[in-house]
Each structure stands twice: as structure tokens, then as C-alpha cells.
Symmetry: D2
Subunit: 344 residues, 4 copies
Amino acid sequence: MTLRFGVVGTGAIGKEHINRITNKLSGGKVIAVTDVNQESAKQAVEAYQLDAVIYPDDKALIADPNVDVVLVSSWGPAHEETVVAAVEAGKYVFCEKPLATTAAGCLRIVEAEMKQGKKLVQVGFMRRYDSGYIQLKQAIEGNEIGEPLMIRAAHRNPQVGESYTTDMAVTDTLIHEIDVLHWLIDDDYKSVQVHFPRKTKYSHANLQDPQLFTITTNRGIVISVEVFVNCQYGYDIQCEVIGDEGIVKLPEFQSVVLRKNQKLSSTILNDWKYRFMDAYNVEIQDFIDSITKDGKPNGPTSWDGYIAAVTSDACVKAQQTGEEELIHLQERPAFYSEKGLQII
Amino acid sequence: MTLRFGVVGTGAIGKEHINRITNKLSGGKVIAVTDVNQESAKQAVEAYQLDAVIYPDDKALIADPNVDVVLVSSWGPAHEETVVAAVEAGKYVFCEKPLATTAAGCLRIVEAEMKQGKKLVQVGFMRRYDSGYIQLKQAIEGNEIGEPLMIRAAHRNPQVGESYTTDMAVTDTLIHEIDVLHWLIDDDYKSVQVHFPRKTKYSHANLQDPQLFTITTNRGIVISVEVFVNCQYGYDIQCEVIGDEGIVKLPEFQSVVLRKNQKLSSTILNDWKYRFMDAYNVEIQDFIDSITKDGKPNGPTSWDGYIAAVTSDACVKAQQTGEEELIHLQERPAFYSEKGLQII
Amino acid sequence: MTLRFGVVGTGAIGKEHINRITNKLSGGKVIAVTDVNQESAKQAVEAYQLDAVIYPDDKALIADPNVDVVLVSSWGPAHEETVVAAVEAGKYVFCEKPLATTAAGCLRIVEAEMKQGKKLVQVGFMRRYDSGYIQLKQAIEGNEIGEPLMIRAAHRNPQVGESYTTDMAVTDTLIHEIDVLHWLIDDDYKSVQVHFPRKTKYSHANLQDPQLFTITTNRGIVISVEVFVNCQYGYDIQCEVIGDEGIVKLPEFQSVVLRKNQKLSSTILNDWKYRFMDAYNVEIQDFIDSITKDGKPNGPTSWDGYIAAVTSDACVKAQQTGEEELIHLQERPAFYSEKGLQII
Amino acid sequence: MTLRFGVVGTGAIGKEHINRITNKLSGGKVIAVTDVNQESAKQAVEAYQLDAVIYPDDKALIADPNVDVVLVSSWGPAHEETVVAAVEAGKYVFCEKPLATTAAGCLRIVEAEMKQGKKLVQVGFMRRYDSGYIQLKQAIEGNEIGEPLMIRAAHRNPQVGESYTTDMAVTDTLIHEIDVLHWLIDDDYKSVQVHFPRKTKYSHANLQDPQLFTITTNRGIVISVEVFVNCQYGYDIQCEVIGDEGIVKLPEFQSVVLRKNQKLSSTILNDWKYRFMDAYNVEIQDFIDSITKDGKPNGPTSWDGYIAAVTSDACVKAQQTGEEELIHLQERPAFYSEKGLQII
């Protein structure tokens, strides 16, 4: 059985997913595409020599009975409407982050999905598929470090453009930690506070950089995440979980080791694309396999999308107030209580 | 276009390749299988729900006009005959190591292939597709370490069974270094000498373990490879290339880092399968892509299979004589002068 | 010239200093000792075969004209009185931390010293003499990482006894980071806030453990220090300085690397004594050499002792209030403006 | 009690020892010096403000009844005569390597010492006092790696001058591994063979560089040591001991870790002086302490000096013949059977 994808949004990320499904993975096929820029959709079909229909809009694409999965990689504000429509049509959905730009929007998707009576939606938080984070989770669940008490993490980019503003440190950057960390420790967030260190000279007027987020969870775990998007030296993701029996840390990205010019060195990536390239492939292959085998996706759910939205809102508010802000989630429906992404 | 595979030999490795082509990679399909044990062939078809013909023998499978590629994963002594037949039928061949059990057998394949006027055969030396070795090669070709002068390598397994004898340290184990190292430095071997250190208590009467091979190349590079197949602690592959400007070393296998019980530790694999799992996938995907795009495979050639056979013979002789033994290769035909496996 | 020490307090630390001066270092000699427990003083003289007078109290010892230096290793509450008396007598002083138990006490010492017109006092903060911290400081001052923006540090002990209470996480433990970090970045502290993560099961009723301190400096550097005194796994000191051009991190304690039982591991110390053993030796040798060559000690001053006291008070208050507390220092007298501890 | 040193040879190493004894260590004092260049001796006395007699030659210095220890740091060919004379005078001797330039010369010292009926001589092989090698020895003796089977080591210098010839790779460089490795595994050498890899472009006509030595021991341990004295990138000492239960490796030299310019790097030393600076200090302090406490030195003995001379001769012969050369030691006298340098 081959899972038939309709892709909504053929920008950079959309094209990468098309390439992945077409040329790298097994069990999926792109049979329909659309984009607000129809020219872009055409170019994608040509570039990857797809045997795919080009639709004028998402509605028409969703209506195609041959489409099993709607892959949403349009711009963020358009996500909610497409996802709701696809869910109401009973289609599977793979939606790039954010699921919706507001918590209310996420809840509307949650409700639509629950009405369908089965899980249909997966949100594109790929870090859960990274072998490093999977090893971290295995270590925690295998009780290697006892009870988690703290997490210390860092998310660093070499640089960002002028259009990247202070709030985007949350909505574009921290958002990945927001998703992966609550999954890692199987806990919900309770509050957040932000400290702004001295600003790097490489930042600009509208961007406070770096930032230090202190997040607490219901069980009392304290998470300290540094976001530093003009760190210059490379793309670098750090995560260390401190438990009452030991500490476990994400590995450095794998590189040969060089002895030269009085330095023992390994390479740090400059581009985020390479860091999680394998994770993207594993993510989509797992999405295809889970649906094919179990009839439902196994990754981050609509509820995880909602958690990300609520937490993200509180983090942005904390940036503005300088105070500790509460992260208030609605009660988790039983529908979403089942654990996803079984670690082998 | 989908490349259609006929698999000769449905043992453990054959099944893994079938699974890989069917469920993990893109662009290939298994449409025919055979095995001396027909029951095994049937089981493979069922296990992977293949839409494939079960042939009584390799001849019949090769004769199927729908078969584009013959994947040879039968036992070693049978390889030569199958490969020659497939080549003479103009089929592409992916042959697990060894290409043939003798140097003369490899040359017969070389001749058959040259007669066809195009490259058809790839030998299953997967290490060239490992990201660590690729980084090593990039470092060398990018002139990071200057001219290579020495290589120090180690190939360690946790343990082997009673049937594993001294010569198998060459034919089953060192064989991977034999292939990957001459590719790494783009040089040919000239001589080999073996030292037998004190035997580990975990070995047995018919196995000298560990062993230390000192191999020289035409350009004068000295390669020191330790083979230690009862090292107990894990599966561990080390390789360090020493150049006149610097030294570059294979990374350790990636693992989270644990602080616990007064130890800072990471995990060493116990099973070789995990070490090169990605390399196997990349290898077969590249094989499919190269044929699809360029009409010929891009990996280790029949000539590389011949080099491995000649070198392997000399290494076994050196185990027996204790002397330095020459590695005498025929002159490389222009047909095989083109470099394969472009590193991006 | 040999510097003649009078030791006030012959407990564990006092004895270690006596042993150090007598048997390991050059240029110093213990010629007088005293302790509130005279028996202890006698035992010290015998154990190290000192040619030293045993005085009934600090006053008498200070009055001995042969005593050049008063080494104060009595219990904390007694420090101030001894140090003031020694300074007023024109003697050099090496005082273990704390200089005095209150900020006011430290200021009285500062005033007494300024009245003498020359620096006489060094406080026993040995980390400034640790080769790792010295390399950090060299990296910062050599502009390797640009302008420091953040520090992330951790101070972990395997376990503490029942008598160790929440405030001692500051006064006994964090106090070392308080001294070394302002020296490292050449800045003064401005405020501090404390987060209490979920308590480890290895703690007890009167100890919140771990704790996370967020300290800001006048230049806006944000320092995040974890104190975790029942971490079980070992004694572990971490410090990472994040600058606008790069990041520099304290090395792990040096250990051989072991491959065994599927682990690649190095050893983490269990006992703090070994971690800074070299630093203690370098510290006292530098104290002796500086006085001998330059007529004054070169290490942490009375003013540094005052900074530690004020900061420590604010940290304890922040533990109690849960709020951000200001760290208000008096203006630094010109007398203490000169930089100490030249890094070679 | 203060050990009184007479120093024979006030060149670079002699001066460093004088400085060490005078300004860094405890329990020793330089009271006499001599040098074939009397001016050099005078300068040393002035530079370190020694209260020391300048003697016209070693004979006169040895005859001074106040001299307890003769420290021999003259040029190699002069060692034997001075050491024999000092031993015959019943003086303790600390002799820089080589003990004598010939094996026969070493035996003459051995005989002179045995005639005195007590150990008097220590040879200046400082590596045994390096904390890394000590940890290696502890790991081996603590049975962490089971029975040693192989050692793989490297001795690399950034560059050497034109006067450094092929044989000096043994007599100046490998000599340190020769001493420390037999101590490490408590075994005697049996044979040696040399391979010459392709020569680095940074070498010169009279120097084969790098070189690879394969040494076997009586118990069958195979030792592979690379000597590479124009490696350019730094001073780097590697040693890995491979046992039947695990492998233990010397730590890298301790350095802060820098993230900058897409590199994660630590510093490799450029100068050998810093690598073993601590070891030199520990060595001389242990020499002083052992004599003071036990009446005899505890480090490398005259017999170790003899082993080094015999092994060194065989290695140079193996460079010339290209064959495996035997290392034939006389039987070890019971006098030297006691183990030195107790590891705590």
C-alpha cells in the first residue's frame, strides 16, 4: 500500500518534504500539490518529475478522493483552516509547526479531530525523532538518572536577519524545546520567567539576544533554556537532564577529530538543516509506517500543538512583563492520553 | 523509474537487503528471489509481502527479462558463477563480499564486465558510505592533513564463535579495512607483515587473537591495523590517518553522555549491525540512484573486489610465514581508472 | 629569605596548610601555632616535627616578632578578630574563607588594612589558582570569546550530612563561585534570584537541594549557577562563559579513558580535596613568592572578602524571599583598584 | 633535615633543577655547583642567589663532605664517570638520562652501586611521575583491563633541527617510551623491528621521519610506537594499553574547550616542557622525600638505565638492518628485584 500525499504549500520546506517522500523514503507518493503561488506548485511538480495534479487551492486538493494525507507546509497563519478542513474530510494530516497561530485555533483542531473519533493529525516537531533525543528519553525512561530535577538546554544559531524580533526567539526557536522537553520528561509546564543578559553586539534594535528562559513544570522540574540566535560560531543544540541519580546529556554532532595547528578540534555545524536531516527522514517514514500499519500517526498530536501554542504565548508574555507568567493548559482529554512515539 | 531487483540468496543479509529495498528506500523493488533452500525463498516473499517470482536457481532468475539488478547474497563460494552469468546477461549486479573467493575468480568477473563495455557490478563494501569515513576522505582530499604518511586502525568485535579461525581475521574482518583504506588514501598495497601478540584468554585453540597487521603502500604509507575479535568490551572501529600537516580520526559512535557513579561515560555498541546500519541504507540507495541517473553503479567495483582478494591472500600467507609478503596486483585496466563514489 | 608563619587554628585545614608549607613548598616555615584546643596544637607540632612555639592564643602568637605571616584557619566566627589584630600589628595574613562572617566585619578589616597603608591580607579562595580557571581567564582576557554575556556553572557534591542546611548552599558552597566568577569577568554583582527545583530524594527536611541561582552583574552579564550537593555521582565543577564571539568551558578533571563493558568512560572525582589540590599548593606558593618578591600578597584581597560577604547575604535573603534581591556594594576604594593575580 | 645537592652541569636542564630545588620544592638545597664552563656555573649561582660553592670539577664537588646528593646534568658522555665516582664516594645520585652512553657503562655503575650495598642512584625518567601514566599503571595493576596484550603509543614533536638524525629518534625520543612502558607492564623487552613510512616533507636528508617501532616483550605483549618529530601540529604523547578485558588510554593534556568559528576545540601543547612540568616537580620531590624518609631513592634505578641502554642499542640496530633485532638483557640481580615507585 502506498500512502498518497497532497502537499499544501510548495515553498522551501514543502519542496524538501516532496523530495523526501519521492526520492528517499518508502511507502509514500505525492499525487497532488497546491500553493497560493501556482507557479511555485508547477515548478515543484516539474523539479521532482511528479505525477501529480496541481490544484488551485487547499479545498480542491482536500476534496480529491485519491489524497490520503494532507501535508501542510504553507505559511503559519493558513495552517488552521487547512487542517480543520482536512480533518473534517477524514484525511490524515501532517502539519508543519505551528499547528495554528493561536491556542484557540489549536483547540478548534483538537475538537474537529475528536469529533472524527480517531487521531489524524501529526505536528512536524522532528526533534522527537533525533537519535540523540531518543537516547535521552531512553535513558530517562530506563531510570538511568533517577527522577529528573532540572534540565539545562541551549539553542544557538550562528545569526538571524533583521526581521527576526525578540518574540521570534520563542515562536521560531524556543518552540522546538517547548515541544521536545515536555515529551522528554512526560510532564506539563506551569510557569515561565525570562532574563535578558547583556545584548550581543551582533544583534539589532528589535532583538534581545541572548535570552534565558526559566520554566517550571507541574512536578517541580526547573528548566533553564538559553536561546542565542547570533552566537556566530555555529548551530548548536545542547540539552542536559539532571536527575537525582545522574545526569545525561545530548551528544555533540558527530564529526571527525582533527589534530592540527596546536588544536584538537571537531566541526560544529553552521546550518540547522544538517543537524536534524536524519530526524526529518525518520519522522516522515514513521508517519507513513504508522498510518500504514496502525491506521494512525504516532508522533506529536494536535494536543502537543496546543501545548506549544499556550506555552509559547506565556513565554512571549514573560518577555514583555519580566515577571513569572503562568502556563495554563486546559485539562488533557482522555482522547490524547495515550503515549505516542514508542521508543524501541 | 523503479529498479527491479532479483535476489540470489535469502539468508540473513539477503533478507535485510529485501527489507531495506522494500520498506526503507526509494526507487527499488524486489520482483524475483531464489535460494538453494527454496523454503527460505518462500518465507522471504511472505515475510515482506513481496510481489515476486520465486525461481528455482540463479540461472532462471537472471533470465527473467524484468530483472534489472541481480543482488547476490548467497554464500561466498557461489558468488563468482552467479556474477559472471548476470554480467554476461547484461544485468547490473550488487554482490556482497567477497566478489569471488579467489583472485583468479575476481579477474574472470573483471574480464566479463570489460567485455560488456560498461560497469555493471558493485561490491558490498559499505564502509565507504559511512559518514565517518566520508568525513575522513573529505579531510584528506581537502588537504586538511597534507600528505598521508601512516594509518593506525583497529577492528574490534566483542567475541566470535569456535568456528572462527585465524585466517578469518583476514577474510571476514580485516577485509573491510582492506577495501576502505586503499579507497581512503587512493593508493595500492605493496606488502604486509603480521605480528601475533600474546593471545587473549577469551580465544580458542584455532584462533590467534589479537593480531597486528603492518601494510605498506606503493607511495610508502605504512598502515598498522589491529584486529581483535574477542575484545569483550564492544564493537569498535578506529581509524586515524596521520599526515604531514595533521591527523584526522574517525569519530566515536554517537551516544549520550552520562554522569553517574563517579564515571563520565558514553555507550560503545555491542553489535556491528548498528554501527553501519546507516551506511548500508546509503549504499543501496546510492546504488539505485546511480544506475537510475547515470546508468552505472558508483561504488566499489569488480577491480576493488580483485584488490581485496589479492590482498587478503597475501595477508593470510603472512599469517602463516611470519614474513613480510608482497601484494602483487596486475596493472589496473583503464576501464577501472575512473574514480567512483564522488564525495559531495 | 624564609617567610615565617604562625598558624591560628590547627584543625583539618590548618594541618593541611602546615604540611604544605613544611613538606611541599619552598620559602616558608611554620614557627608558631595556636588553637583553642591546645592539645590539637601540640599534636600538629609533633605530627609535622615542627620547630615551632605553641602559643596559648592568637594575641600571643601575633605578638611574636618572629612571625611574619598569620595564617588564619580557625572557625569562621573567630576570623575577624584575629585578622584585625594581625593587621594592626603589621603582619601579613592568609585567612581561610570567610574573611569575616558579616559584611560589616569585612569592612572593619578593610579599614584596618587601609590604615596600614599597604596590602597585607589574602583570602583563601583557591580557585583563582586552578589551571582550568586560569585558562578560562586567559581566554576571556585574550579576547577569545569576545564580550562575556552569560555564565552557566554548576557546583556539585556527592552528598552532605544532616547538618548542612539550605543557607549553607550559599555560605559553604556557592561562595566559591561568588569569588571566582566576579574575578573571571572583572565585574561586580547587582542582583540575585533563586529557583528551587523539585528536591532530590537524597536530601533532608532542612535542605532544599538542588538550587538554581540567577545572578546579574553591573555590565548585564547573567550568571546561572546550579548548586547540587547530593548529586550522588561525584564532585563536579562546571563553568562555561558565553561570549559574543564564542564560548569557553572549564575542562573536565583529567582522567585516563577506559573502554570496558560497552562503555567509554573516564573517572569523576568523589572528593573535593583532589579537585583543587594543585590549586591549594599554587595558592600558598604564590602567596609566599609575592610577599618575598613584591612585599605584598597578590591574591584575593580583603575587598574580595567583603564582596563575598555582601553577595552571600543577598543570596541567602533571595533563598528566603523567592524574589530578586539586590547586591549592594559600597564604592570600591582606590586602594583596592589594582588588579591582583597576574596571569602569566 | 635538608638534602644538600651538588649540581654537575649547569646548562638548561641543570638550571631548571636548581630552580626547582631552590624555589618550588621542599627539603632540598643546592650547596655546590660545577660545570666544564665555569662561567656558566657562576651565572647559575648568581641567577638563583645560591649560597653554594663553585667547584672546578665533579671530583672536587663529590669530595665535599657537605654534599649529600650529586645531581648529574652534564652532557651524556660525561655521566658515567661522574656517577661512578659519586657512588664510590657513597653519595646519592640523581642522573639525567642517559645513565651512561653504553650498556657496558651502565653495568659498571650497577656494579659500583651493588658494591656499596644500597641503592643510591635514580635516573631522570620523569614520565613515571606523570599523573596520566600513574593512572594507567593503577588501572593495569588494579586489573581494570585484565592482562595487557598490546600497547599502541605515539611520541610526536612539532619539529626538530637539522642536527637531529635518524638514530636520535631512539636515543633522544623513544628512550622515554622505552623506560616508561616496561615499568607500566612490569615486563622485559625481547625484540624490536622498525618500519619507515613515507617521509614527511618537513624532514631533512639525515632524518627518517616518522618511524614505527614494533617491540615485543617476554610475556608476548606487542608494543607499537610511532615516533614523529616533525608532526607540525604540536607536542603530543599518546599511550593506549590493550588488555583482554578492556583498554585504557592516557588522557589528553588538559585544556579549556572552546566553541568558535564552527569548531569545538581544545589546545594541544607546542612545547614539551609544559607537558611534563608537574612530573619533573613530583619526581625531584619524591627523590628528596624517599631519601629523607627511607634512606634510598624510589624511582628508576641504575638497572632501568641499563635496560634503556640495551634496548636503545637494539632499536638503533633495527633502524639500520630493517630486521627484527633481539634485545638481550643480562639476568636481573636480586639487588634490583624490589619494585620502586609505589603507586598510592
